[in-house]
């Protein structure tokens, strides 16, 4: 079955979405990520959507669910690289992605995760 790869880098999981996802592929990613978060007890998840030229309500819901699931499992999710046109469209669509942390690019997203994973 077609799958979007999930990479593990230290305590973090990294997903780079580079294909125009059909709905089943998005659902598989959601399930795979949830499983990997619990199996690896990752400290953070970074989802890079810089290659995505569209986010509709289905993908938006998937992102919201992943973020919610990870929070319940005490993991941070950061969404990085959203294109400006995609961000504008999302707002007009009516999707505000409450509770989803975002960063401009992968580097900043990593920094955000590192800071929040650091011992207090």
């Amino acid at each position: 079955m077609e799958r979007i790869p999930i990479l593990q880098i230290g305590e973090f999981l990294l997903v780079t979405i580079q294909v125009d996802m059909h709905d089943q592929l998005a659902m598989t990613l959601q399930d795979d990520l949830s499983e990997r978060i619990s199996a690896t007890s990752a400290k953070g998840v970074l989802i890079d959507i810089s290659a995505l030229d569209m986010v509709d309500s289905f993908i938006g819901r998937m992102i919201g669910t992943i973020s919610g699931v990870s929070r319940i499992m005490d993991t941070q999710t950061v969404l990085v690289g959203m294109q400006p046109a995609v961000a504008i469209t999302l707002v007009e669509l009516g999707l505000t992605l409450p509770g989803v942390r975002t960063a401009l690019n992968a580097e900043r997203g990593m920094r955000l995760l590192n800071n929040s994973a650091a011992p207090q």
Binding site: D20, H22, D23, D53, M54, R61, T89, E92, L93
Partner: protein, 134 residues
Amino acid sequence: MSAEQSGTQPILLEQDVVRARQLARTLAQGCGMSLINLTKLVTAVSELARNAVVYGGGGHMDWQVVEKDHRKGLRLTFRDEGPGIPDIKLAMTDGWTSGGGLGLGLTGAKRLVDEFELDTAPGAGTRVTILRWA
């Protein structure tokens, strides 16, 4: 109207939603559409094509390149022979879904385009026409 100015594409399966998005993107680029307008249009296409598959049991997307005052645009009709929508007002409410969606497909698509027309009745299928200028 020449053959390249209009056409039809079936939307039967989930993968056809991706194809509908890709066709709309190519056509919008051909109209010289700005990236923001193109992104809005493609997102609306994704919502309406998915509805045709999920709720309408599959259908078609008719497309037409239009021009007015030297400005191009794209008119798209999503039509299916599914059950239709019994309560249009309810379906056109932000956040209302009969399935497990976010209920933003119809209302969101309407906000993302210049013209939006919904024509449906119980047992008579659903037809949504949108227009986005370049």
